[in-house]
């Protein structure tokens, strides 16, 4: 995953994310303050200029992201923190010495203990969305958690040290 996405501030308008593909083409997503998004494609002759841009509403952008793949879905999850005050998303790598290694997600009782929700697990580059309590945690798993700041810290501690 050597993909580099550049974030650029557009004062008074919103934020822009740029991606340069392996083939040298640039794609950008302008996220307006009001939630509207523009998908921009760059000119091959003039790499500074946007040849065409397509406005997408929230649902359309989400659907497109789903089609494009799992890693895009993750970045959408992480953008939650910008939109909802007080709610954060974090990707926590499962510590190699975690007491929950090879045990089920249900064993952690994470939601009851920390009030934070585990919404996905990233394993070997693929995403397991909405994992069930029966899902077994493996070495190298990355756990995607949504919750308050304290809740996320709680999950980190829980996964590292077990219940307090």
């Amino acid at each position: 995953m050597g993909i580099r996405i550049e974030k650029v501030d557009l004062p008074g308008i919103g934020i822009r994310h740029d991606l340069v593909t392996e083939g040298g083409r640039r794609i950008s997503v302008v996220s307006h303050r009001d939630g509207e998004r523009d998908l921009g494609f760059f000119d091959e002759d003039d790499p500074d200029a946007c040849r065409d841009s397509i406005p997408l509403n929230d649902d359309e952008a989400a659907a497109l992201a789903d089609v494009l793949g799992a890693s895009v879905m993750l970045s959408r999850l992480t953008s939650l923190s910008d939109e909802t005050a007080g709610l954060y998303t974090e990707q926590i790598a499962l510590p190699t010495d975690s007491p929950y290694l090879n045990r089920t997600l249900g064993d952690t009782k994470a939601r009851t203990r920390t009030h934070a929700s585990i919404v996905a697990i990233v394993r070997d580059g693929t995403v397991i969305p909405s994992p069930t309590p029966a899902e077994r945690l493996r070495a190298g798993d990355v756990i995607v958690v949504v919750g308050t700041r304290e809740g996320l810290d709680g999950v980190s501690r829980l996964l590292a040290n077990g219940p307090d």
Partner: protein, 393 residues
């Protein structure tokens, strides 16, 4: 005819006329500001049919218009954006100020209007219209372009600079002795710095005063606070407009989002009245004398803005075409130039400044809107490509 009846008829006719002109501007793809100015000229002193009854009404409306313009400008920017732009584009901001303020100041001195008018005209030529330019970039689909962040950062710096420039100008135009002038400028700068500090530091606290989701109390509360702070700011000779800008900066989060939503229609109404009023109070006959100096000034300062844009884009590593785009996009002047001219003329500094500023804004908006599209034309792209090939080959 009864006074109120006449007022209704005049105001109604003007608003209706503004609506039609706004539509025309939309079809032509340019800002409606020059049309509003021209409409005001037609019905003001020296115009075809001078309107009498509505002038006072439009005067109050125009004062509200300035306040709302600035308040919403403040609402648009977050503290991070202000400081981020300052950090990333400081040099471009300084180049912008020097290149574009000097021609205005020089012309005022050349015309023998005195040093205070020179400061005012320097401001008129310095500040681009962030409203016109942001809309232009959106309409031309340039938000994703690489030169765009640099252009926007210059606009942010100009807007922030206005927060200091306007109170300094207000202090100067009061026209007291040199020493008192220095004192009032110092007081103005200190007050603005203090308010800016409070606004950025404790903005979250101020936002808590307002209910974000109840639109009516939010509208009344934000409008009330803005007018109150503007009034107080005017009382201590910091311009009312700056007070409004600072209130806008202080509000953040959902309160800012929803406040700008409820205030935008009000801003559109009163800002339009501001431009019409400026036209109403400007003598159309004087305008004719000022056409030549205004055209010369517009020509020079469009070139200096072009240089500014090229400089900023080149520093950001943008190619030749992008440099042209950035340069031409910065050309339109608008609301601030008129606000500055209004401030100076209102205080009795060089009355010819009003017709000059009107003509100047008309020229730069029309020319700027046209020039901004130039780099998209095929022949222009072809010419740039040929020159590049000739250079490298």
């Amino acid at each position: 005819m009864h006074e109120t009846t006449l007022l209704l008829i005049e105001v109604g006719a003007l608003l209706l006329g503004m609506s039609l002109l706004g539509r025309l501007a939309g079809i032509l793809g340019i800002s409606a500001i020059p049309f509003y100015l021209l409409l005001g000229l037609c019905f003001g002193d020296g115009g075809f049919v001078p309107f009498e009854a509505s002038e006072e009404f439009f005067q109050i409306g125009s004062e509200l218009g300035v306040i709302l313009l600035l308040a919403l400008l403040g609402l648009e920017y977050t503290a991070d954006e202000l400081f981020g732009s300052l950090k990333s584009s400081r040099t471009a901001g300084i180049v912008d100020a020097l290149l574009n303020a000097v021609p205005g100041a020089a012309l005022a001195l050349l015309l023998g209007w005195g040093p205070i008018a020179a400061v005012a005209l320097a401001g008129v030529t310095w500040v681009s219209s962030s409203g016109v330019i942001a809309k232009l970039m959106r309409d031309l689909g340039r938000l994703s372009n690489r030169e765009t962040p640099g252009v926007l950062a210059i606009l942010v710096i100009e807007d922030l600079a206005m927060a200091f420039y306007l109170p300094i100008l207000s202090a100067l135009v009061i026209g007291v002795s040199l020493w008192q002038g220095v004192v009032s400028v110092a007081v103005a700068v200190a007050v603005v710095s203090l308010i800016l500090f409070i606004a950025l530091r404790f903005g979250g606290f101020i936002s808590k005063l307002f209910p974000a989701d109840q639109y009516e109390p939010l509208l009344l509360g934000v409008l009330g606070l803005t007018m109150l702070v503007s009034g107080l700011a005017a009382e201590v000779n910091v311009s009312a407009a700056v007070g409004a800008f600072l209130v806008g900066i202080a509000l953040s989060g959902r309160v800012a989002e929803n406040a700008s939503q409820v205030l935008t229609p009000l801003r559109d109404l009163f800002a339009a009245m501001f431009f019409v009023f400026f036209g109403l109070t400007t003598n159309a006959v004087d305008l004719v004398d000022m056409l030549l100096p205004a055209a010369a000034l517009a020509l020079v300062t469009i070139l200096t803005k072009l240089a500014t844009g090229v400089f900023a884009a080149r520093r950001a590593g943008v190619g030749t075409l992008g440099q042209w785009r950035a340069g031409f996009a910065l050309a339109p002047r608008g609301e601030f130039s008129i606000v500055i001219a209004g401030l100076a003329v209102g205080a009795g500094v060089a009355p010819q400044l009003a017709p000059l500023a009107t003509a100047y804004v008309l020229f730069t908006i029309f020319a700027g809107t046209f020039l901004a599209r130039l780099p998209d034309a095929d022949w222009f792209r072809e010419a740039v490509r040929r020159r590049r090939v000739a250079k490298t080959g």
